[in-house]
Symmetry: C2
Subunit: 194 residues, 2 copies
């Protein structure tokens, strides 16, 4: 391919390019040609790294899902009172969203037209179920309200956190990130009334 | 067009078909051919109703925006304490989202590639600013927390409400709708801890 770069991509750096293109054009609207142009290497060079765009999607959403599910295995998510665990998980969800912003953004835009997309949606539902379980454990000990169903509360909490991808732009530094995580924890647990 | 229906569409019924297609395929991914097939009438029949797909988009997002901005002119949004007005607006946002689900869904997916899309994004931002103003008025009277910025709180509240389009499916009836609105008001104002 005339004008193509020498292919010095690693799996991670190629994935980063692909995710940017997927988020800009939508996964359905992205062709191998678009990926080739964005990466500056030929399509055959891309096929040297991956079997096709669905493999790139699978790797990208896996990275987001691994980040999110990883939270649930962290020490503070496993021990302590249910409400403390829930608070920890809420904070970490915001942190993972910020740390893996393009990957989580892509995960949240997946609509379910391919096996990989359906699998990603299923894994998202599983994650929300895990949040609902934490809420259920906290409700059983009267640490959270019981007049809102745990499944609905889990969807509302996830929805609030996920909506951050719509407007958050990196660059505020660790302090801004900490403030955002603090704000989300406050609003989720005590509401705007405080 | 062979097999085409006689064109008995009203502006509203044609809009309903277009919005369904836009939500399924994405606005960018929808051609006049797709709209013609979905409506079962020829493209020239569609052009008899509208100048093109951007006019359909503008009408559709206008319907969602009119619903949302209309809330702010309702009596209970204009009178009473700021926190009561905010509570009223929160509840009505959920109700409008449910009543105009496909239109609000489309509005929330708009990304900004055309004049109409950029205008819709600008109007959404304006709406969030109005919510932030209500929060600011409530904070000035110590009716809401002041340790989270009003702009951020407005984005989080809107984000929670907007996320409902991702999973809500109509058919639960007025009671289910009421329960959802109640739950959102509770979580927004008092959090999951209650």
């Amino acid at each position: 391919m005339t004008g193509a770069k020498r292919d010095t991509y690693t799996p991670d750096s190629l994935l980063a390019v692909a995710v940017t293109v997927f988020n800009e054009r939508g996964y359905d609207g992205t062709s191998m040609e678009h990926l080739s142009k964005a990466a500056g290497i030929s399509k055959s060079s891309i096929y040297h790294h991956v079997s096709g765009k669905e493999e790139l999607l699978r790797r990208a959403v896996s990275r987001a899902l691994d980040g999110l599910f990883g939270i649930l295995s962290e020490e503070a998510a496993l021990g302590g009172t249910p409400v403390r665990r829930l608070e920890y998980v809420t904070r970490r969800m915001v942190e993972v969203l910020i740390a893996e912003l393009p990957y989580v953004t892509l995960l949240l835009r997946v609509r379910g037209n391919t096996d990989t997309e359906r699998w990603a949606l299923e894994r998202r539902r599983e994650f929300d179920h895990r949040i609902a379980e934490l809420l259920r454990a906290a409700a059983a000990e009267n640490q959270v309200r019981t007049d809102v169903g745990v499944r609905l509360a889990a969807l509302l909490v996830s929805g609030m956190i996920n909506s951050i991808v719509e407007w958050y732009r990196p660059g505020g530094g660790p302090l801004a990130e900490r403030e955002l995580a603090d704000a989300v924890v406050r609003v989720v647990f005590s509401g705007v009334r405080g």
